[in-house]
Amino acid sequence: MAAIDISSVGKIYNGGVRAVSDINLDIKDGEFIVLVGPSGCGKSTLLRMVAGLEAISEGTVKIGDRVVNQVEPADRDIAMVFQNYALYPHMTVRQNLEYGLKNRKTPKAEIDARVNEAARMLEITQYLDRKPRALSGGQRQRVAMGRAIVRKPAAFLFDEPLSNLDAKLRVSMRGEIKRLQRRIGTTSIYVTHDQLEAMTLADRLVVLNGGQIEQVGSPLDVYHTPASTFVASFIGSPAMNLVKAELQSDRLAIGSSQISLNGYAPTSGAVTVGLRAEDLRVVSSAEGMPFTVEYVEELGSQRLAHGLVGDQAVTIALSGEAEITNDMRIAIDPSKLHFFDAETGKRLEASVPAKAPAAVAEPVA
């Protein structure tokens, strides 16, 4: 177990393509870090640089007290779980688990003890003598995790380990990974493009975009105070509504409708405003913004109404029984508005002295 220190790390491929630039990340011992971002954002490249499968072009990676830039993957004291399991097809499950230990000259008794313990933990004891091809996807993923666990490494690296599983299995495996990591307490870096997986697993989330860090923070921090429009649109489902608006002293103009801000205005002029679908509510008074419903998605526990405010698309989340008419009026508590710079997309802190009350809304699947 060890802390991982990533400082000013960058990756430039042959031909000058820059995949990752200037990543600084201090990972504490035992922390569960999730790297999340759309495909091509450099999250896997970053993970593979930590693993030693990609050369580090710039900066340094430290595992424990050791700079590992020039260290072979096998000597970095890490274990990796791959998306397509990467089990050795010609070995039995037991041999797969033993392989890394045998190569490290671990005593036989110790190997047996560790393999049996990991197999028991992952409930794969009855499959130990089978070849991977005789296992289902979920079982294979357990074996792949077992192969990482038996090594007792300083860090686990997960490269989208659940992407190949079906939705139901993904949810249960997600819980299992979290539970295992808590129990073993090994520092973990987990790569995913699934924001829900990221939210549920992470101690700290790292949102990447275009090879750079957009935001680092606890899942709820990132959810409640997204640092940019990119993070706002990426984290949370349904995605946060981002609309163009104009700040006129203490009033916010979205199209032709006006919202009174009660002193929350951070600046004036053109801004991008973020409104969470679940923060918007239907009002009967003429106060609210006119909202034209285009279509409704039924999710059972809630209904998502997609429509227009002025000419801008907005989605609102309503309870399962809420009545929906074609023309409604919607309103939002000014404290729940997110303001972003219209040009750069960076967050503008609302100017209210008191901290916004912790929102009751949990992230919605």
Binding site: P73, D75, G100, N103, R133
Partner: protein, 327 residues
């Protein structure tokens, strides 16, 4: 079963969806039977389609085999005036002849050497080519290009290298005090024969090993890199076992090549040369039968060869294939 869909079948669709209840299994059985009838209007037709292939096999394989077996029991007159039944004496003559024994020994050594060297060199080149990043395609093309050269031409090029008068290899070796006499000295000829035979076969093995290596999933290699420090050990414990199906296929092909397809090389090297030169069993069958006009003895030899190949094939599939991992 795809053919059944083209046949109008009331209820077939429903039964496939599971609505047919108990009738379902019965219906599919009927459908399968109908399919056979639907495909061929006459029961003779499939055999008619098979006929050309069967004819080729029969004329060029079974018939000569039967001929060989039968003539191996006779002593043929060299000029074609009748033949005498001699029982097994053709076989005993061959087996107890010291010449035949030494040729059999040479064939065994030659086969083992050619198979081992061409397989291992092909694998070595493939592993190295697989690691090349810059100019990989040029490198691979150059290695494969040899395979595109027609076999007789590449054989001839091989001959030229060992030519008594102009061969660059012979000249080079003479600087080291080795005066090669290919075609005259038994061991020099054996050496040249082996080198040329191996050289011709390497590109073939290279292509198969390279494609086999490229089929090893990248993530499995990476997992091995994390699990095992030594590249050599990774190769033996992970890469090679995954190459085993390719290697097994190539082993069969290479043994056959060394036993039979090296005939051309041997012929070019030893034809018109003074006697004491190494030849393989196949070449001796040809030399005794068509040069020496000893049809009976030659037939007996080819039957022995047939049995050897038969045993070898059984051995390969029974004992080696069982240990090969097929993914």
């Amino acid at each position: 079963m795809a053919y059944t869909t083209s046949q109008p079948q009331p209820g077939g669709f429903l039964s496939r969806l599971g609505f047919g209840g108990k009738a379902r299994s019965k219906k599919t059985a009927v459908a399968a039977e109908e399919m056979k009838r639907v495909q061929f209007t006459s029961p003779v037709l499939p055999y008619l389609f098979l006929f050309p292939q069967l004819a080729v096999i029969f004329i060029f394989f079974y018939w000569p085999s039967v001929q060989a077996v039968s003539s191996s029991f006779y002593l043929e007159d060299p000029f074609g005036f009748g033949s005498t039944f001699v029982g097994l004496s053709n076989y005993t003559d061959v087996i107890f002849s010291s010449e035949y024994q030494s040729i059999a020994l040479f064939t065994a050594v030659f086969t083992v050497l050619v198979t081992f060297l061409s397989l291992s060199l092909g694998l070595l080149l493939a592993v190295k080519a697989d690691r090349v990043i810059r100019g990989a395609s040029t490198y691979k093309t150059l290695l494969i290009a040899i395979y595109a050269i027609a076999a007789p031409v590449s054989g001839l090029i091989g001959m030229m290298i060992f030519d008594q008068h102009v061969g660059p290899f012979v000249k080079m070796m003479s600087y080291f005090g080795w005066h090669m006499q290919v075609g005259l000295n038994y061991y020099d000829t054996a050496f040249a024969m082996t080198v040329v035979a191996v050289w011709k076969q390497i590109p073939y093995n290279f292509i198969f090993f390279l494609s086999g290596l490229q089929n090893v999933p990248v993530s499995v290699r990476e997992a091995a890199m994390i699990d095992c420090r030594s590249g050599m050990r990774r190769f033996w414990t992970v890469i090679l076992p995954l190459l085993a199906p390719t290697a097994f296929f190539l082993l069969t092909i290479n043994v056959t090549y060394a036993l039979f397809d090296t005939f051309g090389i041997i012929d070019v090297m030893v034809k018109d040369k003074p006697a004491n030169n190494p030849v393989t069993l196949v070449y001796k069958v040809y030399a005794d039968g068509f040069r020496g006009n000893d049809i009976g003895g030659s037939s007996a030899q080819s039957v022995i060869l047939m049995i050897v190949v038969f045993v070898l094939t059984i051995f390969q599939f029974r004992f080696i294939e069982r240990r090969v991992h097929y993914n």
